[in-house]
Point group: D2
Chain length 295, copies 4
Amino acid sequence: MSRKIAFIGLGIMGKPMAINLVKAGHHVTGFNLEQSAIDALVAAGGHGAASIADAVKDAEVVITMVPADPHVEQVILAEGGVLESVQAGTLVIDMSSITPQTSQKVAAAAVAKGVRTLDAPVSGGEAGAVEAVLSIMVGGDAADFAEAKPLFDALGTTVVHVGPSGAGQTVKAANQLIVAVNIQVLAEAVVFLENAGVDLAAALDVLGGGLAGSTVLNRKKGNMLNREFAPGFRIDLHHKDMGIVTDAARAVGAALPLGAVVAQLVASARANGDGSLDHSALLRGVERLSGREVK
Amino acid sequence: MSRKIAFIGLGIMGKPMAINLVKAGHHVTGFNLEQSAIDALVAAGGHGAASIADAVKDAEVVITMVPADPHVEQVILAEGGVLESVQAGTLVIDMSSITPQTSQKVAAAAVAKGVRTLDAPVSGGEAGAVEAVLSIMVGGDAADFAEAKPLFDALGTTVVHVGPSGAGQTVKAANQLIVAVNIQVLAEAVVFLENAGVDLAAALDVLGGGLAGSTVLNRKKGNMLNREFAPGFRIDLHHKDMGIVTDAARAVGAALPLGAVVAQLVASARANGDGSLDHSALLRGVERLSGREVK
Amino acid sequence: MSRKIAFIGLGIMGKPMAINLVKAGHHVTGFNLEQSAIDALVAAGGHGAASIADAVKDAEVVITMVPADPHVEQVILAEGGVLESVQAGTLVIDMSSITPQTSQKVAAAAVAKGVRTLDAPVSGGEAGAVEAVLSIMVGGDAADFAEAKPLFDALGTTVVHVGPSGAGQTVKAANQLIVAVNIQVLAEAVVFLENAGVDLAAALDVLGGGLAGSTVLNRKKGNMLNREFAPGFRIDLHHKDMGIVTDAARAVGAALPLGAVVAQLVASARANGDGSLDHSALLRGVERLSGREVK
Amino acid sequence: MSRKIAFIGLGIMGKPMAINLVKAGHHVTGFNLEQSAIDALVAAGGHGAASIADAVKDAEVVITMVPADPHVEQVILAEGGVLESVQAGTLVIDMSSITPQTSQKVAAAAVAKGVRTLDAPVSGGEAGAVEAVLSIMVGGDAADFAEAKPLFDALGTTVVHVGPSGAGQTVKAANQLIVAVNIQVLAEAVVFLENAGVDLAAALDVLGGGLAGSTVLNRKKGNMLNREFAPGFRIDLHHKDMGIVTDAARAVGAALPLGAVVAQLVASARANGDGSLDHSALLRGVERLSGREVK
């Protein structure tokens, strides 16, 4: 069933996602601060809008995909934002990665206007967005999730309803916590193995085949073996995410002893100028701590 | 080619390994402090010995599989041990999980008697030993590894030469480091997700499908979801292993910021009486830190 | 020189501070949400006001002393707040303990109205406030500090200008960081010494006399020896403060490896129901981690 | 009462201590591997010996002061060591800083020969040894402590019996734990304050006057303000000590979450080439983590 969708935020992630919705047969009207991204969407069969108000006024579904909490507040809640112009009954799906608290604030503001919301952050990066193989973690009402499911299926391959408003963001935060820690411990192991004179490539092979195996090990061991840290997922972004998970865990009284230490190490990587490298460059921090030359 | 093998240490791991060598056509003479294990080996087609000296006197290859560093020193280096009775030229393979330092000490003592050694710790647990699907990480000379390879292939499916004497133990230590940290961060994520009101089973599904996925998540999420902590791999043993990796990393000047914190948390689990539970019971420690009832 | 002072926030700290200013000869007009505190100030020779506007309209100096960031924003920046009614040229001194960022936000808003500000958080607790022996850490212009110095001298014994706007809050945050860590490591030492069978009182005496000595050891060893945790300074408040220092350090790119771990342990104490105990009760957390009965 | 004392180990600490015993009127016979130190003792009124056996054969009290565990084992337990030549009933006082376990091993071996022991490590450094103002933490029997008290009073000003054999070492270990953590958090505070643009000298003054005050802050703030790290107490030695306290706490089941992190940071300082600097140089590690130039 074709839907009328407004898509706000056509960046590195948003643009290919919007195009994938066009390919799936939907009527997609995009808005972005830079016109070139709108032009690309139009070229792919979508439509452009001159403002958020213009984009959402006839929409059945609004999707927002912007960098961080302040942008979500700006785009949805502020003057000239989605809630000002959208019709009652519309479903607003925020796919940005932000704090659960902001998602819940958006949901509460929407309810007051008779608007429904889902928080639906993704993982999988630019490649996952382009190839429509994202993982999508969705918070909100089950009925709203069911309605949005066909749209999500046009964007990703793992689409899961994980709980009420904010739950999608909570799961995304947990994802970033686990990823950061799994990378950091792999980096600690690499420096330990190298310092001990072990054949690192052979060691990583055998480690990957047992209980120490992980997707991080599979995907990032090449970066570590070759000291090749082109992103990928930038440390600056993981730093933002560690702030989210630390705050969110604090808010619900959950202890994160490893998470707190990793948050410091990610911040340290950034302070050392590695913010634009792939998060596997946490290896460089372990090298610094171990007094090794950092290449 | 059938070899004459002496197998010292027929415990939970050693007995099925010795029997698998018999099945592969080797002449295996076992020694163990308790006679019942020797009887089991004999019943499976092996041979029994009355002492270490008796077991090793005609052996081409000696395999030792005992609990910890002092046992290895006792069985190989002490009076009445392997090196006292073995013939020059024999290959002694220690498959126990001990410190790299002790492996190197054994190797040096052996060289002085014209005896060759490999350190070849395993992962995979009792099930892996019985089913001959262990991972085996081997340190020592490449030629000795090549000679032993057919024996290892009778015991496991992933058999890798990772470097000189002690390197096998180093990789095993790295394995235990990564496993402990991956379990701990999964436990932190579980408590965070539950406290935040997320559907945990759904969340773990989506986490497992992305970059946060790991063998630990796949194999241990059931333990965590059901608070079912029958071992598995006991926290007491992981505590011993964290001591090994902490000491070994200190010896080579490698920083383990996460490893050091996890070592404390594993010790804390043991101090709280959880030593005989599976290592996935690190979850209970996060529950304690978070002020939750521990079931 | 007697000054006309408006004092907003007559709580546990504010009331005795306002009374000390009266004793020093100043004309102090107080406002508080509960009338009883205003009555107490009047009984001590001060004056009462019916609103913030009423209190500040003729003031030369305004002092605010409220619990946390939102209260400062409410009392100074919001509708009906200090900046709405105060005359240009007035000196507004916020003595609350809040984030440096909020202090800087207040300063910027004040400048826009021709109002001068100082941030001047204190340490020393209720007893220090009553006895006028507070330590006061002051951020802002040197000339404004010089003008306010006689007032501060009526409230405390250690009064130091530490830098520009926000610097007072930064130093207060550093103070709370050091205190939390010094308490926590003392607690770790206590459990270690007790578990090892040492005479704890004798040990703390000798430790206090050497390089391990600290004000925390002197003032808190009694709490720890007797497991007597009546506040003092509540863990709930220290938890708030660890949030401030963690965020502030993150904002300026300073690594806090110990600070991050302590923040988790303070949060854990609170999650375990110890929030209303003195911060020396961090000892109870070390007992929990060490599997000991917590009395 | 003049005693006949054998003093083994006349290094940086031992030589001035032996001389102080001479000054107090005792008959002191010294032994050291390098003759020059013996000559210095003789010049000060003491006596020299050609071997440990020679030094201890007529002694009422033997004092040992050597660098680490292996030296204590060598000097007391090994062939040619103290226990081989000393008379039954002699009091052997080991003032080295070693593990409690080795002190207990020495005590057990001595008991078997009818020899009494005390472990009596010191703090206060070379200056404290020269000026006879050491702190001395003593483990062993109360009667033996009472007998030795006059000797200790010739060496230090704070002399405390803290428990049975090994207790002196345990307290010394706790001392080093607290000192390392108090230095590290001061370093974290310094970088935080500097990054935030605070007047550091003023801030440290006000911090020192409140609950954040400590002997570490008083004695080490100059090092930190001036980046002047001439030892003092070398990081290499503190690294050795962190190994002792980590192991000792592990042995008694005491959790050291901060201690474990600090042990890593001390090791990291050493790995970065700062081992011969004063332990206040932990500041350099915080600078590295914070991406700052290390001067």
